[in-house]
Amino acid sequence: MKNEEYDKLIKEIVVEDNIVGNIIISFFSGGLIGLIGEIISNFIFKNFNTTLSDSYMITFMIFIFIGSLLTGLGFFDKILSVCKCGLIVPSTGFANTMTSSAMDTRSEGFIKGIGSSIFKLTGSIILYGIVFGIIFGFIRGMLL
């Protein structure tokens, strides 16, 4: 059997995941997280003596803490199977990625285990975040 025919056979039999459904769920779950973030940051801004950007930063840290805590307790992947990507895109996903890598390699020691593996998955997010930050910052500086 030729490879192309086999590809066709797979396509015929394997039921594709419902991408549209997942996107809709992610849209609402991600939006819900954004709403909660907005409420928290507004609350901090109004009740504590902070600037607006500081209150966003504190909200960010709260989300990272919650994401890491839920990962450590083993709930994050269960919640994620319901909420889909709505939880990965915000900072909770970033926290989950780092914490899960660290937990996996804890037994291999602090230096060669956690130290070298904690950025295994997030390394590319950080690297390309910085690279594109520079590029777009440059474009912005040129245009404005």
Binding site: N3, L9, D17, D77, I88
Partner: protein, 319 residues
């Protein structure tokens, strides 16, 4: 390549199940159930070697005279098999053909026993968290699962193969060749393994001049729900006959409804065979086909099409 054996028998086995998640079908008959992913060890890798050690130890204590251990698992450099065998000071062969390791081990053992009298233990193990960590993502990482993903069964099975007569006779074996299609998605191992499974089945029937109806049951390894369907279709195209007497152990392994397409792992096929099919006492002639997807993290990152291998052994069960 097809071999015939005169008096090679599977005398006894010891099976261990390490997780009751999704209610596996083998629970009533399995020898030991330990619901512990760590076994008091520092890491999950060492726990897996402990599973294998328990199963080998039982057979060694029971039968005393053991000449060789053949073992394999999914870890890098088959670590857990090596560690488990290191406790016994017995000659050891380590093998790797992913989820077909157990069948490969039986084929090697049978070929050795066919010519000289000895007792050989064939052992294998798999651990859900180890495979997640090794082949997919970190354990607690929230990756969205696809429908084609399989869930690795945790446990270990050891079997002792001898010249002495017993209920299960190994009468023939076929060693398969490695197939490779365009398929590159490591999440969908069923589609990668289906061609090799169909090819080895076709080759076995051709070499032995048997029809499909000769076997009461063809038990495949861990193709999963979709892989089994693809295998049936593929077989029909290359052989012309349709398969009706085939069961996939990965497909039936979990009784509870779950998000996966079935179970996988080297322990899946022997667990289902010894603790679900044999106790049924329904089938006399059984063909076991172990299916292995030979990808690694490197091959996935290099976007190499997944190579896969299958081996088959023909059994005569008398009970």
């Amino acid at each position: 390549m097809t071999n015939y054996y005169n008096d090679v028998y599977i005398k006894d086995k010891y099976s261990l199940l390490a997780s009751k998640k999704y209610n596996p079908v083998v629970i009533p008959n399995v020898n030991k159930i330990i619901e512990d992913y760590y076994m008091g060890e520092k890491s999950i890798e060492l726990a897996e070697s402990k599973y294998q050690e328990i199963t080998i130890k039982y057979l060694k204590n029971k039968y005393k005279k053991i000449d060789l251990i053949i073992s394999g698992d999914l870890q890098n450099q088959i670590l857990s098999s090596t560690l488990a065998s290191s406790k016994f000071k017995l000659p050891t062969l380590g093998i790797y053909s992913a989820c077909a390791s157990f069948i490969e081990g039986i084929i090697i053992a049978s070929s050795i026993i066919n010519n000289n009298k000895c007792n050989i233990i064939v052992s294998t193990s798999s651990h859900n968290l180890v495979s997640e960590k090794q082949f997919r993502f970190p354990v607690e990482y929230g990756a969205v699962r696809k429908r084609v993903n399989t869930c690795t069964a945790s446990g270990s099975v050891s079997a002792i193969i001898t010249n002495e007569k017993s209920n299960i006779k190994i009468e023939s074996s076929t060693i398969g060749f490695i197939t490779q299609t365009n398929h590159r998605d490591a999440n969908d191992m069923g589609s990668a393994m289906a061609p090799s499974c169909a090819e080895v089945l076709n080759m076995h029937l051709k070499n032995t001049n048997r029809s499909i109806d000769y076997y009461d049951l063809i038990l495949t390894g861990d193709l999963g729900e979709y892989g089994l369907k693809i295998m049936k279709r593929y077989f029909k195209i290359i052989n012309g006959k349709s398969l009706n007497n085939v069961i996939d152990s990965g497909n039936i392994f979990y009784k509870d409804k779950n998000i996966y397409a079935g179970a996988s792992g080297p322990a899946c096929l022997p667990l289902v065979f010894f603790d679900y099919i044999i106790p049924k006492k329904k089938y006399k002639k059984i063909l076991l086909i172990g299916t292995g997807s030979m990808h690694s993290v490197t091959s996935t990152n290099l976007k190499v099409p997944i190579p896969s291998i299958s081996h088959a052994i023909g059994l005569e069960v008398n009970c």
